[in-house]
């Protein structure tokens, strides 16, 4: 497995407040890596650095071998993102939203339409392509956003708490779908969450707390390090909750 995301000794501060300190990890293609942390742990800051919304203070981020700071266009072309808040245009149709994204990635219109059909069909949303996003429920909007993030066939898919505010069946469907994607499409997935039940035993796990990594490895390894058989127990152990 080749390493698709490489985060190396990343630190970042807002004015006086340290948001991230010495964060290093890698995600390989075909791997689903869960970034687990409470609200305020630094997950969104880390995502802002990986997506080059901010420039890293120190350390580096590379996507498919391209440094985000120095080769940002090549790096961003290989990145698909689902942000925490929905970023679809509610007054436009599903198709118009997806075509806009394809245009930003410079996709030829014919190819874009074919890819839109492929991704929407895979999630059972193609029949609803002409509906305005405003008419879709939260779960369906998320599906459209995942389809959008995959249109340009990225090597790395970032998801920032994508299931927030969704009902249980929608959450479950998205969790299963993304895990399946990583394996079938050989995509590296980095999924930020604070919900334990979104983790599969086969995932890689990173516990982020107060801006630094407290534990990382396979789910099994993290549980062993915390001397527990439950992920929730390991999470409490590494974040100091309940002490």
């Amino acid at each position: 497995m080749s390493c698709t995301l490489n985060v190396n000794d990343l630190s970042f501060a807002f004015a006086q407040k340290t948001a991230l300190e010495g964060v290093s990890f890698t995600v390989a293609s075909g791997q689903c890596c869960i970034l687990l942390g409470h609200n305020g742990a630094g997950k969104s800051t880390l995502f802002a650095l990986i997506t080059h919304l901010y420039d890293s203070g120190s350390g580096s981020v590379a996507i498919a071998g391209f440094d985000v700071k120095r080769q940002s266009y090549q790096a961003l072309a290989r990145l698909g993102v689902v942000f925490q808040q929905s970023t679809l245009d509610l007054d436009l149709s599903v198709l118009q939203n997806l075509r806009y994204h394809a245009a930003l990635h410079g996709m030829e219109p014919g190819l874009a339409d074919a890819r839109i059909q492929e991704e929407l069909e895979r999630q059972g949303m193609y029949d609803r392509r002409k509906e305005k996003v405003r008419q879709l429920n939260g779960g369906h909007r998320r599906r459209v956003e995942i389809a959008r993030a995959l249109l340009h066939k990225p090597a790395l898919l970032l998801l920032d708490e994508p299931t927030v505010g969704l009902d249980v069946p929608s959450r479950k469907a998205i969790v299963e779908y993304v895990h399946q994607l990583a394996v079938e499409q050989d995509i590296a997935v980095l999924w930020a969450t604070h919900l334990i039940d979104e983790i599969h035993l086969s995932d890689q796990l990173i516990v982020l707390h107060e801006g630094s990594i407290r534990a990382s490895g396979s789910v099994q390894e993290v549980m062993q390090a915390a001397k527990t058989e439950r992920i929730a127990g390991a999470f409490r152990y590494f974040t100091g909750a309940g002490k």
Binding site: F14, A15, N39, G40, G42, K43, S44, T45, F47, A48, T51, H52, L53, Y54, D55, S72, Y73, Q74, A75, L76, A77, L79, V81, F83, Q84, Q85, S86, T87, L88, D89, D91, L92, Q96, R99, Y100, H101, A102, A103, L104, H105, G106, M107, E108, P109
Partner: protein
């Protein structure tokens, strides 16, 4: 990365702005009603009190309505620039600005394309306003409508860039009322949109100078001359310079390493 990519992205950004504009009919209506009220009510009321001398580009005595028409086109573009700025703050709070900024294209290009898209919407609004004004007997020479187009693009870009620059300073939507009071209204009232410079000089030399150096005044004068088939070189150069300054600062503001979004947290935790 190639030219075709830039072209497709520009097409996508402009297309999205046009679609949004068509969908939001109330935005179109309010953009049109505002200057029409100024024209039909304000100008009609002041017609008798504000006498106009013959000043270029006019070759004869004109009605006050004719004088303020270019100023009102400027107002359409000023408010459109503000509206774009408001939507950028909203987009940043809501996150959709991020979709644009994570595209694999240079940030200066993405911001300029967004600016151009907003400007084209304001150009459309300006022509619809002029069409209504035509029935109100404000009928500049036909060629003027064509000559106005490049001037509208330039003034729209300048005022849009000002809006974009403001959006880098405004952290929350709630702060927007301040922008209206401290930027938009002074800019409008301290300009040649409603009264010529010589009139202002009679009342206050300070106001005269403020209006003279106000970029909005120069944009309005450029539009006024263009509408009558003339090029006001000084006003056009002044507007271009203002565009370059505002756009340069806005791009700097949105730069990931030097910019202001970073200091403001940019919506991240």
């Amino acid at each position: 990365m190639n030219l075709l990519h830039y072209f497709r992205a520009l097409n996508g950004i402009v297309g999205r702005e046009m679609l949004r504009f068509v969908q939001q009919r109330e935005r179109f209506a309010s953009a049109l009603v505002r200057p029409l009220i100024w024209l039909f009510v304000f100008a009609a009321g002041f017609r008798s009190t504000l006498g106009m001398a013959i000043i270029p580009p006019y070759e004869t005595y004109i009605l006050y309505e004719v004088y303020i028409t270019p100023g009102l086109i400027g107002v359409i573009q000023l408010f459109n620039g503000t509206q774009s700025s408001l939507s950028m703050v909203y987009d940043r709070e809501m996150g959709s600005m991020r979709t644009l900024l994570v595209s694999p294209l240079p940030r200066w290009f993405l911001l300029t394309a967004k600016l151009l898209a907003g400007t084209l919407v304001s150009v459309l609004q300006a022509y619809v306003f002029l069409a209504v004004a035509w029935f109100y007997d404000i009928q500049p020479p036909r060629a003027g409508y064509l000559d106005l187009f490049p001037a509208l693009l330039l003034s729209g870009m300048m005022l849009g860039a000002l809006g974009m620059l403001m959006s880098t300073f405004i952290k929350q939507l709630e702060n927007f009322a301040g922008v209206m009071n401290f930027v938009i209204f002074p800019m409008f009232f301290m300009s040649t949109a409603l009264y010529p410079l010589w009139r202002l000089k009679e009342s206050s030399v300070l106001l005269y100078h403020l209006a003279e150096y106000n970029p909005f005044s120069q944009a309005v004068e450029m539009l006024r001359f263009a509408l009558y088939g003339q090029l006001n070189t000084y006003a056009a150069l002044y507007t271009t310079a203002a565009l370059l300054v505002f756009l340069g600062l806005a791009i700097w503001g949105y730069n990931p390493s030097k910019g202001l979004i970073q200091r403001k947290g940019g919506g991240a935790e």
